[in-house]
């Protein structure tokens, strides 16, 4: 970049030239150039910043204000922290939070371990038809979430579903995937895992391929076995990617909406109701935008705290 742009852009020099003819013999005040080595990066990120300000920052601030008000539709009055107090005493909010946390604690580690195994397999030279496998693993993440939900509601159907039919071949009784609270949660975890494992596996694969071969060669010379090599070289080298996937998956799971919305409607008896579903119900079904905004802020706070914690715990130590 520095080789392309001079310290003072040519535009300014031209104007200085014009100025020189107009104010011959007078010392000119030095005008600051628009394009300098320091300003170009800011100009380049300006479109993104403007987009964020208009389409994200404004709604975020606006939503904070709404969360402090009550009222119907356009007739809002300031209510202070009433919505937040209501949130703390709302059993359904805690149910939704508990469900979301449960899915998070079970599903994210499960999915990421699976993704890592898949990535290791795809990275192995012993696997035939590697490009085909990679494609197969990645394709689910290209499926629309709603389409995936609808598809799984057919697969998980108790009486006519594909999964129960397959299980019946092994003599397993029909499972009530959508009709019992425990199995419905398993069903939701199944859909998310199916949808996102490939996506994470591809990220890990990119990370694996970035690890220098020399490290493995040196370790093998030192007599390190495959397990030792995995824990001493592969995992530490993958740490930045692991951190990224953990943070992104955590955020994604905390914002889980589409799959349970389509698959279970949050049922049975709120066993799969997630925080964002509860937010949606309050905003778009009960028209209680103040309360919905308070839920949004509570969730944002949780996501931020978890994100920061993860970065602190897993980030590089110096």
């Amino acid at each position: 970049m520095s080789s392309v742009l001079p310290e003072r852009a040519s535009v300014t020099e031209k104007s200085a030239g014009r100025g020189a003819s107009a104010h011959a013999g007078r010392a000119r005040p030095r005008r600051r150039a628009l394009l300098t080595r320091g300003s170009v990066p800011y100009l380049l990120i300006m479109p993104a910043v403007l987009g964020f300000a208009i389409f994200k920052a404004y709604p975020i601030v606006s939503s904070l204000w709404i969360s402090l008000t009550t009222g119907s539709g356009t007739d809002r009055s300031f209510a202070g922290l009433a919505n937040y107090r209501r949130l703390l005493n709302d059993p359904l909010f805690w149910t939704a939070l508990k469900n979301t946390a449960l899915i998070l604690v079970v599903q994210v580690p499960l999915m990421l371990c699976l993704a890592l195994l898949v990535a290791l397999a795809l990275n192995s030279a012993k696997v035939w038809l590697r490009p085909l496998w990679r494609l197969g693993v990645f394709v689910p993440s290209l499926t629309g979430l709603v389409a995936a939900g609808v598809m799984f509601s057919v697969i998980l159907n108790r009486d006519a579903g594909l999964l129960n039919w397959v299980l019946s071949l092994f003599g397993v009784d029909r499972v009530n995937w959508l009709g019992s609270p425990g199995w419905a949660r398993v069903g939701v975890v199944l859909v998310i895992t199916w949808h996102y494992t490939g996506y994470n596996a591809v990220m890990y694969l990119a990370g694996l391929q970035g690890i220098p071969k020399e490290l493995y060669e040196a370790a093998m010379v030192d007599g390190a076995g495959p397990i030792r090599r995995f824990f001493s070289i592969t995992l530490p080298q993958l740490r930045p990617i692991l951190l990224l996937t953990v943070v992104l998956s955590t955020i994604g799971t905390l914002q889980l909406f589409d799959e349970p919305y389509v698959l279970t409607g949050g049922g049975p008896d709120n066993a799969t109701l997630t925080v964002t579903m509860y937010l949606y119900n309050n905003g778009f079904k009960y028209f209680d935008f103040g309360y919905a905004s308070a839920i949004a802020y509570a969730l944002a706070l949780i996501v931020s705290v978890l994100g920061i914690l993860q970065v602190r715990l897993m980030g590089e130590r110096r």
Partner: protein, 443 residues
């Protein structure tokens, strides 16, 4: 670990926080100041969904011929997407709303309550003169806080019990002997033994709120989630009776589970359900979806929820309203008036899309007493018209219907999936509804 944040670390933290904050952009602002106008010329847009939108398009040519200078664009925005679109539009002071909105009874009272300035006062255009023209019990739903009408009824869905005549015959059950759900529950095991079919299906875990049946059983007793004063009656003895009927059906193995996409349709096509309590639109729905079952189905008025009780229920109804932010409110009103108050037009829509008219004078058309070949020549629309002419009470949906629906759906799932006691489940639901809405519990 160093306590001084590097720039990179700061960026990471900021990213994590921003990702979290991105969530909060879900809120919707309800302030601003859009204002409409009473224009009566130009192009008006109409939002509806699927078959109803198709039916509405059918009246456009005659309307445009009678009203030169107005053109109509009917848009099928889909259901349930239409509710989010209307809600967001109303919450942002009418920005982006169509001129004419097709609204269901489950949403209309909520809109009138939460957005009192969202839908145009149609009384000032003379809507009140049609007050007694529509099926009994519908008019109070269109009245807003200002005591004016804000919509006109279009579709009304009286309930009928569709039943497999061949199954009843095989099991030796005479439909004429079925006058209450007690009778039907008693006949259920015979029908199941003779045909293998269960009586009816419900989405037991509530993957979609399947509460029409529960609501109908309450309505058969002139009860609902709320009384006419808006007090909560979700825990009333009528509600408990309704949920107890559902529990008995389930305990006796007469209730199939229809959870999951397409399950209900599959059970129907396989002949696994002997009855189907459905609104009037199902007359054409069954005929088109299950043509191979032609001649096997018949319709009767629904059995009473308590022996000797009422047998008329209006399941639901839909309305056309004009958005207050419309620049052509008068033109929009004219379209509604043309489509919904002229028997010829509303029956044209009924023939094309099965949208059962709410306009009383529409029933004089011979088709309402014509034999239907799919139903073995039965005058199948007659039970529905009888239901409407015998009159059913007004159901007070209130602005909190969707909350009540959710809590009732949870209670029904608790009973069907976890074996909970109906009275206890409904009492808890009623208390929770009171806590959420600030409404009083009826004694």
């Amino acid at each position: 670990m160093s306590h001084r944040l590097s720039r990179r670390r700061l960026l990471q933290l900021a990213t994590a926080s921003a990702a979290g904050l991105g969530l909060t952009a879900c809120g919707t602002d309800g302030s601003g100041g859009g204002s409409g106008a009473d224009g009566d010329k130009g192009r008006i847009t109409v939002w509806s969904w699927t078959t109803a939108a198709e039916a509405l398009r059918g009246v456009v040519p005659s309307f445009e011929r009678d009203n030169p200078g107005i053109t109509v664009d009917v848009q099928d925005v889909g259901n349930p997407a239409i509710w989010d679109k209307i809600t967001v539009g109303l919450a942002s002071d009418g920005k982006g709303l169509a001129d004419v909105l097709h609204i269901g009874v489950d949403y209309l009272p909520g809109y009138l309550e939460k957005f009192p300035d969202g839908l145009t006062n149609l009384s000032r255009f003379g809507a009140d003169r049609y007050r007694s023209e529509f099926a009994q019990g519908l008019w109070p739903t269109v009245i807003g806080k200002d005591k004016a009408a804000h919509a006109l009824p279009w579709e009304v869905n009286p309930l009928g019990l569709f039943y497999r005549k061949d199954y009843f015959e095989k099991a030796g059950v005479d439909p004429a002997d079925i006058s209450s759900w007690d009778d039907l529950i008693a006949a259920g095991p015979k029908i199941r033994a003779a045909t293998g079919a269960q009586l009816l299906g419900l989405d037991k875990p509530g993957t979609t709120p399947d509460m029409d049946f529960f609501q109908n059983l309450m309505q058969l007793q002139d009860a609902f989630y709320f009384d006419q004063k808006g007090r909560i009656t979700l825990g009333s003895k009528e509600a408990v009776q309704a949920l107890t009927i559902i529990k008995r059906l389930n305990d006796d193995g007469l209730l199939a589970d229809t959870a999951g996409q397409g399950t209900r349709k599959r059970l129907m096509s396989q002949g696994k359900l002997a009855t189907s309590p459905d609104p009037a639109w199902a007359v054409e729905y069954l005929a088109t979806k299950f043509p191979d079952q032609k001649g096997k189905w018949r319709v009767m008025q629904p059995p009473a929820a308590v022996p000797g009780g009422g047998r008329s229920v209006i399941v639901n109804s839909t309305y056309l309203a004009v958005s207050e932010s419309s620049k052509r409110r008068k033109a929009a009103w004219r379209f509604i008036e043309h489509a919904l108050t002229k028997p010829a037009e509303i029956n044209r829509m009924f023939k094309s899309g099965g949208v059962f008219p709410a306009l009383g004078s529409a029933y004089d058309d011979p088709m309402f007493s014509a034999p239907h070949p799919y139903y073995g020549g039965q005058k199948v629309l007659k039970p529905f018209v009888d239901t409407l002419s015998s009159g059913s009470g007004t159901t007070n949906f209130t602005g909190d219907y969707t909350r009540a629906l959710k809590l009732a759906s949870d209670a029904q799932s608790q009973v069907l999936v976890k074996g909970a006691d109906p009275a206890g489940a409904l009492r808890d639901a009623a208390e929770r509804l009171a806590q959420q809405t600030g409404r009083q519990l009826a004694a």
